[in-house]
Symmetry: C2
């Protein structure tokens, strides 16, 4: 790679990192070409030279940050084998990312996307990376659970991802409340996990009751 191409890539990366740091540190409202450029230590005009527009930069930053995170956690997601573990994983990741704030990028962009259609597509794409991973886990987990045949992994994956982002945003206005919410979900996860480990007789009873409910 030539020095020129290397410099180009370096500048782009500086801007992407600057965008993520600004987004998580100052919020979407204070994320502008000038603030991002300042965080990146470069001139603001480079935002437009390299990315064309602020929205485009944020879109790429969204993909950049999300792909990084999903890659980082993919193995751990792969080893999850119950609903309880999934919810416990959510709590762990949330705390690991607290100071890095990489997950909060999605929350900020989701907030901003409500008004800027250009951001909406990128945010949906970023979120769908997580949804896809969660969906894989749910398909596997639900197949092994007595509750499995009555739940829709596709919809649940979206619900889990959206809820997680909602709690992330909630943390911004009530940190204690968000902590208790995560605690409660983890606890609920343990309950669900326990159901999977019922003895065969109780399992049959549960399945039977659920089928009756499903029929109306």
């Amino acid at each position: 790679m030539s020095p020129q191409a290397r410099a180009r890539a370096a500048t782009r990366e500086k801007l992407l990192d600057g965008a993520i740091r600004t987004l998580t540190g100052q919020g979407i409202a204070k994320t502008s070409a000038r603030t991002v450029a300042a965080a990146a230590g470069v001139n603001q005009a480079l935002v437009f030279y390299h990315f064309g527009s602020v929205d485009e930069l944020l879109s790429e930053a969204c993909r950049y940050a999300t792909e990084q995170r999903v890659d980082r956690y993919r193995e751990r997601l792969g080893s999850i084998s119950s609903l309880g573990e999934l919810l416990a994983f959510g709590r762990e990741m949330h705390e690991e990312e607290r100071e890095a704030g990489h997950v909060a990028v999605l929350a900020q962009l989701l907030a901003g996307a409500q008004t800027q259609p250009r951001l909406a597509a990128a945010t949906a794409a970023g979120l769908s990376l997580w949804v896809a991973e969660v969906e894989k886990v749910l398909v596997r987990v639900l197949a092994a659970s007595p509750l499995g045949e009555f739940a829709d992994p596709v919809g649940l994956a979206r619900a889990v991802a959206a809820s997680f982002v909602g709690i992330e945003l909630y943390e911004g206005v009530d940190r204690d409340g968000a902590g208790r919410a995560l605690d409660a979900l983890e606890q609920l996860g343990a309950v669900a996990a326990a159901l999977d480990e019922l003895g065969p007789v109780a399992q049959r009873a549960v399945r039977h009751r659920l089928r009756r409910a499903a029929r109306g």
Copy 2:
């Protein structure tokens, strides 16, 4: 009430309604003194005359809108007697409010509150009105469920409220996905409701398994 006082109250209300309409229609990013005043049909300087600042207006609009909604749905919340009904209620309310958009106000403010500390307090207060109602329902519902002794109504209420707002925001970037998420949650609610109606023997087995899980 004198004509002067009546006019004062009318103008304030126009501004509050204008704020809510702008918030739900244009989003927090395009909600300014000028846009709100235009929606209200009055001069922008009145925002500062009557409320002192834009943030203060939005804070009062948040309380105004949320109190209205909570009052409206309180009876229906009071008649909920299972987790399934609670989740079904969430879906119903979501659809009833779709065009009115009064619930989306909270989502927009939660998004904005990530950066403006002044808004954070008001948003947390608005959200806590919902949390309190959900908590009452959960206390009642969980007391009658075999899962009850293993779940924390306080934390769960916060998780439910925050998740609901998250799904509301998710709808802004992926309407179909949000719909499937709500469907899946409703379905899951039906499963939880069915567990409450297990026969006494299965109930004892479930409780026994949960207690063992709770001990470690």
